[in-house]
């Protein structure tokens, strides 16, 4: 390996020339081909986020129809068949196609910027992951539009989703959608872990990693260990349905509770895949708007990790009424209660930071306040359902529906909306409108609480979840109507957000690199960031590098300026150790995703599809890894 004679190092160029040169090397051409082949984490992250928001829209529309149906007793707007498909689509979409992907991909966009590198660890895997996710989501919704929407609920309990009672191909589409989204979810988790472990800017030791990045890392680890559970169980389900295995057939030695164990072993941590990144967003917003460093950094990191561990010991609290032994159930009550402690620590630390801070009450911080108010309700009702005796009354009623919407909307969507207002200027270079932002916040706050608080009472009044209608004599009509009105207001708040985004993209105030005067590295990049993120990789000596030195960014020199190159650093101390090249744009991830998707889709109809599909998938993967002769491949 002789040194290439023509190689250029960045030390030979001034900032302007270097930036132009790297922008060309890392850039994505504004062509169709460029769009299809890009491996830039920002391009992919952005389209991932837009796609997830599109699925939010679809899932939201399903919810709107459900709310309209339940707005009055004995309503005939939709029948049981469509209603069952609607709530299954709503749950599956929100969990698998919106919440988990959007949290993961905000990390895909932000983590490289926050840790001072130029791309994620495996950019082509990232592109592949997006395409597989897109195809999986589209497949599920296409199936719904041809009357093949799954109808057994987002947790698809057997035997209702099994071969005998899950009639037609509906549950097969559900089970295979799981395969797509888990494939993409796991791929992103691997990228995030390796990116955070090995690509941090020099000097970003473990105790200088931004809390959002910690949250993304903990989430990625949870995904790594929890998602295989649903892969295993959904594979068993589809085998039961398609080739006649007996995993869940009680008459031949199987057991329907095996499904529940496996599903909830994944399903409970999944709530934390959504919630933990949201806490990361909160921990990013609070310092910027209080002008204070986060109080209790170490405690916060330890609570994130603690939550990550405890989340794996809770799954049985979804099965308290299945008749498991009481002693075991008591253990799971204790562990479910215990997970409230790390959440409590986080809330105490946030309030402690706000306490002495110099507050700037802009929209992102408003959403943080809304988050705390709503999430605490969800957390506390979580403590209630963790108690076995109380759960026997509220399990599978609207009380639980209220509970998890407080946790997921209050605990994750509110921070997410705050995060959108916070980072939008970084993504698009323009500020969102503050006035509309306040409208957005208050409508969301009022609409959300009107929609979901009455559900607590409905559940206690005996209303089970997943009913497509109810008789007038039950007396549930009034509260349900209130809830429907609240839901409409909540929908309105999203329309305000869309309006705000459209206005801002056309005529928003230009943001500048660091409009909030925040301290983390993403604000050192331009808004929107250049394709290479950083022309020179920053050197970090503080948890809030931009606060420590607002004028000058210390950087390293000596990297190549003629190829896509990133800096690999050590795990703990982030000492530079290797200059590794980063892959070029390529169409192969798209092709690989395409053939994988077709194979999986065909396997819904015949198991032989896996055999036929293996060859094209193998060819696509070989094409992906085969070097093309660029500088990036040969170093």
């Amino acid at each position: 390996m002789t040194k290439c004679a023509s190689e250029i190092r960045d030390t030979a160029l001034d900032d302007g020339a270097l930036s132009a040169r790297l922008a060309h090397i890392w850039g994505t051409p504004k062509t169709f081909w460029g769009f299809m082949t890009t491996v830039d984490h920002k391009e992919i992250g952005r389209r991932y986020i837009v796609t997830a928001l599109f699925f939010l829209l679809l899932g939201g529309l399903a919810a709107v129809v459900m709310r309209l149906q339940l707005g009055s007793p004995d309503n005939k707007l939709v029948g049981p068949d469509l209603y069952n498909q609607l709530f299954t689509m709503h749950g599956s979409t929100m969990m698998f196609l919106f919440a988990v992907p959007i949290m993961e991909t905000i990390a895909v966009y932000l983590v490289p910027l926050m840790i001072g590198t130029r791309n994620v660890a495996f950019p082509r895997l990232n592109a592949f992951s997006y395409w597989v996710y897109l195809f999986g989501g589209l497949m599920l919704w296409a199936a719904f539009f041809v009357n093949t929407g799954p109808d057994a609920g987002w947790f698809s309990y057997v035997p209702l989703a099994g071969p005998q009672y899950g009639i037609g191909k509906r549950s097969d589409f559900w089970a295979q959608m799981i395969t797509y989204t888990e494939l993409s979810g796991l791929a992103v988790a691997v990228e995030i872990i390796v990116t955070v472990f090995k690509m941090r800017a020099p000097g970003m030791t473990l105790d200088r990693i931004p809390l959002f990045v910690w949250a993304a890392l903990v989430t990625a680890f949870m995904i790594l260990f929890a998602m295989p559970a649903v892969m295993v169980s959904s594979t068993m389900l589809i085998l039961d349905r398609l080739v006649g295995t007996h995993f869940f057939n009680w008459a031949e030695g199987g057991d329907s509770l095996l499904w529940q164990h496996l599903f909830w072993f994944f399903g409970h941590p999944e709530v934390y895949f959504i919630f933990i990144p949201a806490t990361g967003i909160v921990s990013a917003i609070i310092p910027a708007f209080t002008r204070r460093r986060m109080f209790g950094y170490v405690a916060l990191v330890l609570s994130l990790i603690g939550t990550g561990f405890l989340a794996f010991g809770l799954w049985v609290h979804h099965m308290f009424v299945t008749g498991l032994p009481r002693l075991g159930e008591s253990f799971f009550t204790a562990s479910s209660m215990a997970v409230a402690i790390p959440s409590g620590i986080q809330i105490f630390c946030w309030i402690a930071t706000l306490w002495d801070g110099k507050l700037r009450l802009r929209t992102p911080l408003l959403f943080v306040f809304g988050f705390i108010v709503n999430f605490v309700i969800g957390g506390l009702s979580g403590v209630m359902v963790a108690s076995v005796p109380i759960d026997t009354q509220v399990h599978d009623t609207y009380f639980v529906v209220a509970h998890f919407h407080y946790v997921l909307i209050g605990g994750a969507v509110f921070p997410l909306l705050g995060g959108i207002y916070y980072w939008f200027p970084k993504f698009y270079g323009r500020m969102l409108n503050e006035r509309l932002g306040r409208w957005n916040f208050w409508l969301a706050m009022i609409g959300f609480n009107l929609a979901f608080f009455p559900m607590h009472i409905l559940g206690l009044m005996g209303m089970p979840r997943r009913v497509y209608t109810y008789p007038a004599e039950m007396g549930w009509g009034g509260l349900n109507l209130l809830s429907t009105v609240g839901a409409s207001i909540f929908v309105l708040s999203f329309l305000v957000l869309v309006l705000n985004i459209i206005r801002s993209l056309r005529s928003g105030e230009i943001a500048g690199d660091n409009p909030w005067d925040a301290g983390t590295l993403e604000w050192a990049a331009t808004s929107p960031p250049e394709p290479q993120n950083f022309s020179r990789i920053p050197v970090v000596t503080d948890r809030e590098p931009l606060w420590q030195n607002p004028e000058t960014l210390p950087v390293i020199g000596g990297m190549h300026a003629d190829r896509r190159e990133i800096l690999v650093s050590t795990l703990v101390e982030a000492t530079p150790e290797v200059l590794e090249s980063s892959p070029q744009a390529t169409i192969w991830p798209f092709i690989a995703a395409m053939v994988t998707s077709v194979t999986l889709l065909a396997s819904i109809f015949t198991p032989w599809a896996i055999v036929w599909g293996a060859l094209p998938v193998g060819i696509a993967l070989t094409g992906w890894f085969w070097p093309g002769g660029e500088k990036e491949d040969e170093s």
Partner: protein
């Protein structure tokens, strides 16, 4: 008793209209049995604690917004060391308090579980089998001549514990009568057991609580808690065959039933109708509702149900049997005579 006092305090404190709405014949907050009372007491205790915690958090947030800052330094950065130390102590103590509260709640919950656990052998045993979308009830007895079957309406004697064996014929269902007891799943291939005891006579509504397919919404049941004497009278009556029709119209109705499609799925004791896949109709006229609580049992409703079951309960396994209006009248007359 503590829980009871707390409950009344909370009741006073909370908006009373919401609470009035909470009481009803299918409400967890209107207990009519010791078990349900324990559960409600525990619920109110948890609610009180949680409400206090939430109010404190919101109060803290309001103070954050309103308090004057000692030092409004413009430069971003850390707190002063003495503030840091003070905060660390406060956050640490709050965490400890959280842990203590959670321990107390865990203990309370465990204690309540023990309170509501009964020994499993009782005089009266009823096997409840969940079906898509109705409840099959079998009153079991060592002596087969004392055993009988019925559907959707469970009669129990007040004050006596009754063993309820829970099974399912097709998919998972869940047995839940909130005024009397929390829910328990009915799982194909498994057996669960509950002990049901009503302490006040009354009519309580229950509903399937595990999503079970198209008509999950219309799978409800009624529990009639009766004084022991009334229950015994009811039980004896159930053991008898169906009433023999006298009026000609009813005899016509019986012939339609016994020789037509009805008898394929339904049984009527004392006749040739012995279908087992649908509800037993021997004493149908005594029941308060039709189709697992979907309609009140009136001749008009029954006629509507027979004319087009799928319009009333889309997806039900009850088919629309074609017959002339006169035949349907006769069938209704027969069924409404099955006292």
């Amino acid at each position: 008793m503590t829980a009871g006092r707390i409950r009344s305090v909370v009741q006073l404190a909370t908006c009373s209209s919401a609470l009035q709405a909470c009481s009803g014949w299918q409400s967890a907050l209107d207990p009519h049995s010791q078990t349900a009372a324990h559960l409600a007491g525990l619920f109110w205790f948890f609610t009180a604690i949680c409400a206090i915690v939430w109010v404190l958090v919101v109060a803290a947030l309001i103070m954050v917004l309103r308090r004057r800052r000692e030092s409004e330094s413009v430069l971003p950065g850390d707190d002063f060391p003495h503030q840091q130390r003070r905060k660390a102590i406060i956050v640490g103590s709050l965490t400890a308090i959280t842990a203590i509260i959670l321990t107390v709640l865990t203990y309370m919950s465990f204690y309540a579980t023990r309170e509501i656990t009964w020994p499993r052998k009782h005089v009266l045993t009823v096997k409840v089998t969940g079906q898509q979308w109705w409840w099959q009830l079998d009153y079991q007895n060592q002596d087969p001549s004392q055993s009988f079957g019925t559907a959707n309406e469970l009669h129990i004697p007040v004050g006596q514990p009754v063993t309820v064996d829970l099974e399912a014929a097709d998919v998972i269902h869940s047995f839940w009568v909130p005024n009397l007891i929390g829910k328990q799943d009915m799982i194909p291939g498994r057996k669960n057991v509950l002990t049901l005891r009503a302490d006040k006579p009354g009519l309580y509504r229950g509903q399937c609580a595990e999503f079970c397919g198209l008509q999950h919404a219309h799978m409800s049941m009624f529990v009639f808690a009766e004084p022991p004497a009334a229950f015994e009278a009811w039980r004896r009556h159930q053991l008898e065959p169906a009433a023999t029709p006298g009026a000609p119209q009813r005899i016509t109705g019986m012939n339609i039933f016994v020789h037509g499609a009805c008898a394929t799925c339904h049984a009527v004791g004392g006749t040739d109708a012995d279908g087992q896949t649908g509800p037993n109709l021997t004493h149908f006229a005594q029941r308060a509702t039709i189709a697992a609580g979907t309609l009140r049992n009136t001749p008009a409703n029954l006629s509507r149900w027979l004319a087009d079951p799928q319009a009333v309960k889309p997806g039900t396994n009850m088919p629309q049997v074609p017959m002339s209006p006169a035949d349907r009248q006769a069938l209704v007359a027969y069924l409404e005579g099955l006292k």
